[in-house]
Amino acid sequence: MDKAFNRTSVVLMFVFPAFLVFSLFVVVTVFWAASYSVYDWNGMGEKTFVGFKNYLTLLQVDRNFWTSVKNTLFYTVWQILLQVFGGLLIAIFLTRVIRFRATLQTMYYIPVVISTVAITQIFGKLLSVTPPGVVNSLLALINPDWRYLEWVSNPRMSLFIVAFVEGYKYIGLYMIIFYAALVGVPEELGEAATIDGANLFQQYMHIKIPYIRPVIIANIVLVLNGSLRSFDFSYLLTRGGPGNSSELMATYMYKQAFSSLKYGYGSAVAILIVITCLIIGSVFRRLSRDSQEVI
């Protein structure tokens, strides 16, 4: 049986379907977008070849693009803090709780299964100013002036709010992964540390968290990848606004391609997103591998 699976033809037979689907729906479309990116095309009529003009305009002239890059990087950092480290904290908390653990796990996980559209609608209503939503109505009980506190319509707050809502939705997912990893840490390690005089905090900092380090890195890579391409929360909650205060690279790509009808320019943004994901992903993997070797 083992030998059968070692044969190249059999391995290829298993790999080929996934390779074919991935190539068709990911690799081909990336190259397709790359080919569009050297044209000026509004989706109707003839395409005009413009070479690298779209890229040069994006990189040299388009300040809104750079705002979206800055916002995306900031957004990604927030997502890692919220989803990975927030999820880890909740998982640690759950490992310490004995009563109602399953209920709490379910409650934390519920947002994961609610659709993004529903979540953004809920938060849109909760944080509404006109008419006042639940949050502002409650705040107005403390101070009447707070009835008009702006959240998604405040350019200084909108990106935080979008990041918070996405973090709220996915924190439960990473909590479950971390919880599974933490309960898999051998109990003997903790017991040995206790005998050596380590307190609870030291046990987590020096034994349990280092033990699940590969899981943490895997989760960071997942969140990194998802956040750099994040689209739905910003688009549904703020449409990248007000102005371009919560514009992410993916929403900017959509806006250029499908609202501004600049398919070539939008494709150039898409290719830069792919390149950014590849660079940041590679750098992170290299850094995490190097630190692993040091340890």
Partner: protein, 445 residues
């Protein structure tokens, strides 16, 4: 044994892949065969008998929207009157962006439905360029009823290239400011006649803790109205058409600069309600007619919402104020025909021609039944709210149509302007930055 096992594995995998591909291929083939067959049947039938199996309609809106009510009533009436065995296939898209994407897709693939909604601008030009637009003016002239179309509505739909009307107007809309007479009286204010007075009124209201103006800032056209009021009063369509054509720019046009200053002042001084950039149109209307806010810019389509407050003497109307220090045109009530409807020239067979004639004859009544003012000259029925007559009378002296920047601008400039006007109103950029951005944007286009 091992060889047999690996062979069996390979066979199972190949069979499963073939089964999956086979079923997909079968479905695709069936679909592909079916679609052309339907098309051929329809074309053959229409060509041979002058009849067809269905009429396809794509509208921006839902089943509760006025456009659907009017066109469905007309199509039902037409089919019943002629006794045709026709199906009507509706495609309704309530979201503006989705509608624009779908329309663009149909234009690109040259598969527009028989009847479709389109604004007078980029999309109507694109549909015209591929020969998919019936010239409404020519058809109505042939039928002898083009002169019944309101001249300002006709002006609103005049094509930028040939000046002809290629689109069927949805309604007669005039726009104006609703204001709360009771709140104005409380602070001894009069309806403003120029923009300086308007800002003074806003200032007084703000200082007294009122919300001066309600606006649906989440909708790009609402802030854009304030940007375009002064250029419209001073230049009608000259500024925007010359801006699009590259012969004028914000930095060189005093009226356009005053428009930019107006948006900046309204936003900066807090004359619009808190969180105005996230207020959608429905919320803004509900807010104003629910008793919050003092002034709302809207139009004749809100008569049913305004009726009760108007009867109670709480509500007044005033036109677009003059731009002080500049020469203003006489027309101060923006008139337009709403989101128009187009007839596809490529499928404009005998049945569609008959329907066009039927629609022009019955459109007025259908519009009134749907609660809209007719774009044609039929008198307003006595059964309608008397306020309709008053808002229609406001525009009696108007000859020049409204010029919607959001219809005229190309998609890329429109998106850029929508973002920049929000930034301007929120103080994220100043007037000079806005002007620089917009001038370089149109230059790039």
């Amino acid at each position: 044994m091992k060889r047999k096992l690996s062979l069996a594995l390979v066979i199972v995998l190949v069979l499963s892949i073939l089964a999956g591909c086979g079923s997909t291929a079968t479905q695709a083939t069936a679909g592909e065969t079916q679609a052309p067959a339907q098309t051929t049947a329809a074309v053959t039938s229409a060509a041979d008998t002058g009849d067809r199996a269905k009429i396809s309609v794509m509208l921006r809106g839902s089943e509760t929207s006025s456009a659907y009510k009017v066109w469905s009533s007309l199509l039902d009436g037409f089919i019943a009157e002629k006794g045709y065995d026709l199906d009507v296939e509706y495609e309704l898209l309530p979201n503006d962006g989705d509608y624009a994407n779908k329309l663009q897709l149909y234009i690109s693939s040259n598969q527009l439905p028989d009847i479709f909604g389109a604004a007078n601008g980029t999309f109507s030009s694109a549909a015209k360029a591929i020969g998919s637009l019936v010239c409404v003016q020519d058809e109505m002239t042939k039928l002898g009823n083009f002169d019944q179309m309101n001249p300002a509505v006709a002006d609103f739909f005049a094509d930028a290239d040939d000046g002809k009307v290629w689109l069927f107007p949805e309604s007669f809309n005039d726009e104006f400011f609703f204001y709360r007479k009771d709140i104005f009286a409380k602070y001894n204010l009069n309806a403003p006649t120029n923009w300086d007075e308007f800002l003074q009124v806003c200032d007084t209201l703000k200082k007294n803790g009122e919300i001066p103006v309600v606006i649906a800032g989440a909708e790009q056209w609402q802030i854009m109205r304030y940007l375009s009021f002064i250029p419209w009063r001073v230049t009608h369509d000259k500024f925007i058409m010359n801006y699009i054509g590259g012969q004028d720019k914000f930095s060189a046009n005093a009226a356009a600069q005053k428009g930019v200053n107006l948006v900046k002042t309204m936003g900066e001084k807090g004359y619009w309600q808190p969180s105005f950039t996230s207020t959608n149109y429905t919320d803004a209307v509900n807010m104003f007619f629910g008793g919050q806010g003092t002034i709302l810019y809207s139009g004749s389509w809100l008569v049913s919402n305004a009726s009760e407050m108007y009867k109670n003497g709480q509500l007044g109307l005033f036109p677009v104020p003059d731009a002080p220090g500049l020469e203003n045109m006489t027309t101060n009530i923006p008139i337009h025909g709403g989101f128009a409807t187009a007839f596809n020239a490529q499928t404009y067979d005998k049945v569609m021609q008959e329907f066009f004639a039927y629609a022009t004859e019955h459109y007025g009544n259908a519009a009134y039944e749907a609660g809209m003012l007719s774009p044609f000259s039929e008198p307003i029925p006595d059964t309608m709210d008397p306020l309709y007559k008053e808002v229609r009378a406001l525009a009696d002296q108007s000859t020049a149509g409204w010029v919607s920047w959001d219809d005229k601008l190309d998609a890329a400039t429109l998106v850029a302007m929508a973002d920049a006007q929000q930034q301007l109103a929120l103080g994220m950029i100043d007037e000079q930055e806005f002007i620089t951005q917009m001038d370089s944007q149109i230059k790039g286009q």
